[in-house]
């Protein structure tokens, strides 16, 4: 068995066992309604986590995404309120803006040779500050097109609703999987995450790849912002504080090595769903407080980091054993 895929198998096993335990206690949890809601409620997180997965695979980190989602919501809401532009035009403008923003951060990370987390930290301040400057109040979005988007769903058997934003997330995960596992860009990401010097010697264009991956993360954050604005029907500059950490946690729980170079986009989806399941369980239970979510996620995060650490040490000692 491939030792690298072990965290992925562990994630899937934990998710299935957790679902089984929930099902034993609350048989209704296995209805398409719950599954539909699980996808809808976590759509924005899933989308942004795909971008984060690729960034982490390349050995970086993007702390700006939570702020970019909030900025996107406010940007859309303010533009729809003050101009007569069609939402689709606004979406296109927004995605261009966030992609450029991500690319600029990637450019700086590469040019300045500074740690990614401090550059994206500045990006986090900047995006949140820009959102504040647009509006500090929650701006409602009232546009017929938005109502169409919110009402768009496919009724699954069992009356579960597979909403448009849920499908968007699944499509994004699929696109992320293709990008990471089937393209030259994806291979470059893995190479960079495995070791910058080695990747350079192999002919990976480091600057270009770094810029592109942060641009992709910015694009995903913008898309996630659109989905979040459809989900909440408003734009609020204080929304999604700390989403970057939840996304990182989802990526790590999904079995991606935080130091980069190993992991699967599909694992991230399972990580997001695991976190959604914890929340769903707490809602079903009714007596547990929602802050248990944070603690359970923290414990899972620790477990997976320890598991990865063990695996890395194991493979290193095996390498040393082979060399001897």
């Amino acid at each position: 068995m491939n030792a690298r895929a072990l965290p992925l198998y562990a994630t899937i096993a934990i998710f299935l066992v957790a679902y089984l335990l929930c099902w034993l206690q609350f048989p209704n949890i296995l209805s398409t309604r719950v599954i539909g809601n699980l996808l809808t409620d976590n759509a924005y997180l899933g989308i942004v986590a795909v971008g984060m997965t690729l960034v982490i695979l390349s050995g970086g980190i993007d702390l700006s995404v939570g702020s970019v989602i909030a900025f996107s919501g406010v940007f859309i809401a303010v533009l729809l309120r003050d101009t007569s532009l069609h939402p689709l035009v606004v979406f296109a403008l927004l995605l261009a803006l966030t992609t450029t923003f991500g690319a600029a951060m990637g450019f700086l990370i590469d040019r300045l040779a500074m740690p990614a987390f401090i550059v994206t930290l500045a990006g986090m301040f900047l995006a949140r500050g820009a959102a504040y400057m647009l509006s500090i109040d929650s701006v409602p979005i009232q546009h017929p097109f938005y109502e169409t988007l919110q009402r768009a769903y496919w009724l699954m058997p069992g009356k579960g609703r597979l909403t448009l934003i849920g499908v968007t997330m699944l499509a994004t995960v699929l696109a992320g999987m293709i990008l990471a596992h089937r393209t030259r860009f994806g291979t470059s990401l893995y190479a960079l995450g495995g070791g910058e010097a080695t990747a350079r010697l192999m002919g990976v264009r480091q600057g270009r790849t770094t810029m592109l991956v942060y641009a992709f993360s910015g694009l995903m954050a913008g898309l996630s912002g659109i989905v979040f604005s459809v989900y909440t029907g408003s734009g609020y500059s204080l929304a999604t504080v700390g989403t970057e950490l939840t996304a990182i946690a989802a990526v790590v729980i999904g079995g991606t090595l935080l130091t980069g170079g190993a992991g699967y986009v599909f694992g991230t989806l399972v990580g997001v769903l695991t976190m959604g399941l914890i929340q769903t369980y707490i809602v079903f239970d009714g007596t547990l407080s929602s802050w248990w979510t944070k603690i359970v996620i923290g414990v899972l995060l620790l477990l997976f980091i320890l598991l990865q650490n063990g695996l890395v040490k194991l493979s290193r000692s095996r390498l040393a054993g082979d060399a001897a």
Partner: protein, 336 residues
């Protein structure tokens, strides 16, 4: 004076900022005596900077070991929650303070053990507590904002001692005490050695594991003090908002202080000046009548400028550019 030379950029920046704020808000440097207390915007800055200055003291040490402590904001929330819980439960002042400090030390021990013993990179190790911490704090406060009335404890947030607010004394004493401890003993040198090359320092006989854990404990204790100050100031423990974003301000203070994020040489005094610079900007924006929304954007711009100044690659390119520019000079100098 090597110390003055080291601190010169920060001192100049602070003076320039103070001048700028005074231009916009002429009363900025006014200090008057009221009821035996000094009052004025500057005193306000000295008081309000306390949480960030305390965090920056611990963060400087952590960053000097090439680490980072992202959990300080949540440790503040946990310690504040413990202190408020103990006070509300009638434990008395000293046990409550000890409980809060103990919780901070324990959190630091946890971070330190993950970094030094288990070998997880600091950014990730402290992320775990950052994610979990607010949940823990909310467990203690049971999701409410725990309020209390205890004049002794409130003194830590809003009391006055010898004319100055007590939080100002607290961060000054902690910061200068830590700086003296680092520079009058070999501790500072050993911490720098770990930051530059942990393996080499360990081979040279530095007990890197114990020192690393101690550094994270120190950071936890500083966060506990900051948590006490914030909790005592508002006379309540707010698990959701206490210390929110402050880890970023603390890191920013350390970076403004000219300390490299890549570890090695550090100056606690410079970090304290960095914290003062941040607080002067915050207060200045408010006094000048700008909406506080500008705050984050200005901070972002500041981080960017500092990053460019600190960047190893830009420094190397600058040197190349300067050398190529000065290279033709000998020919020019050959002219009679």
């Amino acid at each position: 004076m090597p110390l003055l030379k080291r601190l010169a950029p920060q001192l100049i920046a602070l003076a320039a900022l103070a001048l700028l704020v005074t231009l916009v808000f002429p009363g900025f440097l006014n200090i008057s005596v009221n009821d035996g207390r000094l009052v004025g915007p500057v005193i306000d800055v000295l008081k309000r900077v306390a949480p960030v200055a305390l965090l920056a003291t611990g963060m400087t040490l952590v960053i000097a070991t090439r680490g980072i402590d992202l959990s300080v904001g949540t440790i503040m929330a946990i310690c504040g929650a413990f202190a408020a819980w103990a006070i509300a439960g009638g434990w008395g002042l000293v046990p409550a303070l000890l409980l809060a400090l103990g919780a901070g030390a324990l959190a630091g021990l946890w971070n330190g053990a993950l970094v030094a013993v288990v070998g997880i990179q600091p950014f990730v190790a402290t992320l775990i507590l950052m994610t979990m911490g607010r949940g823990i704090a909310q467990l203690i406060t049971e999701g409410r904002i725990l309020t209390f009335t205890n004049p002794g404890f409130a003194f830590f947030g809003s009391g006055t001692f010898l004319g100055l607010p007590f939080p100002a004394w607290l961060w000054l004493a902690t910061g200068i005490g830590a700086a003296l401890l680092m520079r009058r003993t070999a501790l500072g040198l050993l911490i720098e050695a770990i930051g530059i090359n942990r393996r080499a320092s360990a081979l040279a006989g530095v007990n890197a594991t114990v020192l690393l854990i101690a550094v994270y404990i120190a950071s936890g204790l500083c966060a506990a003090l900051a948590g006490i100050v914030v909790t005592a100031d508002i006379r309540g423990a707010d698990a959701n908002n206490a210390g929110l974003w402050l880890e970023l301000d603390a890191i920013l203070a350390v970076v403004i202080g000219g300390n490299s994020l890549l570890g090695g040489r550090f100056s606690i005094l410079a970090s304290l000046l960095g914290a003062l610079i941040i607080q002067t900007i915050d207060t200045g924006i408010l006094l000048a009548g700008f909406p506080s929304e500008y705050n984050l954007v200005i901070k972002a711009g500041l981080v960017l400028v500092i990053l460019i100044l600190q960047s190893p690659r830009i420094a190397a390119e600058w040197r190349v550019w300067r050398d190529t520019r000065t290279a033709p000079q000998p020919a020019a100098g050959a002219r009679p």
